[in-house]
Amino acid sequence: MPPTEHAEASPEAEGGRGASAAPAIALRDLGRAYGERVALSGVTLSVPVGQTLAVFGANGAGKTTLLRILATLLRPHRGEARVLGHALPGEGWAVRGRVGLLGHDPLLYRDLSARENLRFHARLHGLAGRARTAASSGAAASSGAAARPARGGSAGERIEGLLEAVGMTRRADEPVHTLSRGMVQRVAVCRAVLHEPELLLLDEPLANLDPGAAAAVGALIGPGAGVTRVVISHDVAHGLAEADVVLGLRGGKQALAVSRAAVDEAAVRELYR
């Protein structure tokens, strides 16, 4: 397989779903190094709004670096990156708060409960309305009323609805360090989507989840979420099934960047050899 099958993927031209004029993500010759080690180099692609970019590659291929650049947590050292219409890193301030990141770290404080963590993040994101007390919120959630409140509901309602959606209402007041990995991942999903981001950046989002939990969080971060997504996955079949655009990385370099229709599973599996 040649190192780069397509220099740029533009699914609009190939009938990709949900295409629109201004891409949610536009990268040109993107690169990043840690000291002298080049972690990412020559990534060029475009992801239309509402579509899913699936990123594949072996360990150390640069996937997480790419995700952190898109999340504004790392500065690119080379090339251009535009996310949600804003150039990074210069206009990162305009992107923060519009991105939901679910990475290897859950970004949850271990000594706080799930509910306290979500309230904290809701406040940081300036969500309207005060979080209600645990007792009153729990009661609302258990009655099912919080799962589908009217639009413009309070942060407390949003939190309770999300906790219920991932099946964490009963354990929501226990410190995070007492929860299993799968439960922590479920709470991390709630944290990532709490502020209703326009772009979801997901690094192995189903890691540690049992099939039931995976289905539950799928409603929040899956293709049906209705937002642009970047998904890192080692499950090639599952990743391709959700993808509109496919990026393959090998040793930090772009090995392929194509629309889903233009790539088969064998070509993606080749990245891991």
């Binding site: 301030w93 708060g97 770290d105 306290e116 940081l124 799962a147 209703e196 049906g224 209705g226």
Partner: protein, 246 residues
């Protein structure tokens, strides 16, 4: 289970996000989070209090003096407070570093200096809470005169010194947490930077703890503390943003 369908899917529970969280909201959220975690774990304040009381006991026996007054008492007290503060500075950003707090904060639409303001405020609260315990303990274990007569002036000096320690300590804490040798870097940076605070606070406190009774505090010492707070507070506020860059 009726599940929300997604961040922007129809029927999902929604809150109304605002673009750009006000700094005071972010600071309040961070302060509340830190205080809640401290109340739950007791990682920092009990250690500071135990350290201070242990130090007073050690001085009590080490100096072979049943009571201190004046310059010596003020010096012992303020050096102990400074070392106790180092304990707090060492732990100030550990949760942010080890539990992804920095990333969670940087992903939110908030002014980065709100983290500095919040951490400095929490350290200030810790120092005040410590001194609520440490001043009476010092009076019982080491201090010859009663601290009562000069208490208002002492409180003023404590607050001024605490503000300076909180500002510089927070800056150093944010710097040191990025390094592997945090426990070494913090005292190496904090102690020299705090020399003016210790001098001014000790010189200011000494007349309050004279055996003959509390005398007036020289005006220049509170003034020096105030200037230190202003200069280092502004300096720390100005450069803190850069410490959060990668």
């Amino acid at each position: 289970m009726s599940a929300p369908r997604g961040p922007r899917g129809d029927g999902a529970p929604r809150a109304t996000p605002t673009r750009g969280t006000p700094t005071r909201t972010a600071v309040a959220a961070l302060v509340r989070k830190d205080l809640r975690a401290e109340l739950r774990t007791g990682d920092t304040l009990p250690a500071m209090a135990l350290f201070s009381i242990s130090t007073f006991v050690l001085f009590h026996f080490g100096l072979d003096a049943r009571s201190l007054e004046g310059d010596l008492a003020a010096g012992v007290f303020w050096v102990t407070m400074l070392f106790a503060a180092v304990l707090a500075v060492n732990r100030q950003f550990v949760a942010e570093r080890e539990e992804g707090g920095f990333d969670g904060f940087l992903l939110a639409p908030v002014d980065r200096t709100s983290l500095f303001l919040a951490k400095a405020a929490v350290l200030f609260v810790f120092l005040v809470a410590l001194q609520v315990v440490a001043v009476p303990a010092f009076a019982i274990l080491l201090l010859e005169p009663s601290p009562g007569p000069g208490l208002p002036e002492l409180i003023g000096l404590l607050l001024l010194a605490d503000a300076g320690i909180a500002a510089v300590g927070t800056l150093v804490g944010a710097l040191a947490v990025q390094t592997r040798a945090r426990e070494v870097i913090v005292p190496l940076l904090v102690l020299p930077l705090m020399i003016p605070v210790v001098i001014a606070a000790a010189r200011g406190t000494a007349p309050l703890w004279l055996e003959a009774g509390a005398a007036a505090v020289e005006g220049r010492w509170p003034l020096i503390l105030g200037l230190y707070d202003l200069v280092f507070g502004l300096l720390a506020y100005a450069v803190f943003d850069y410490l959060l860059d990668e």
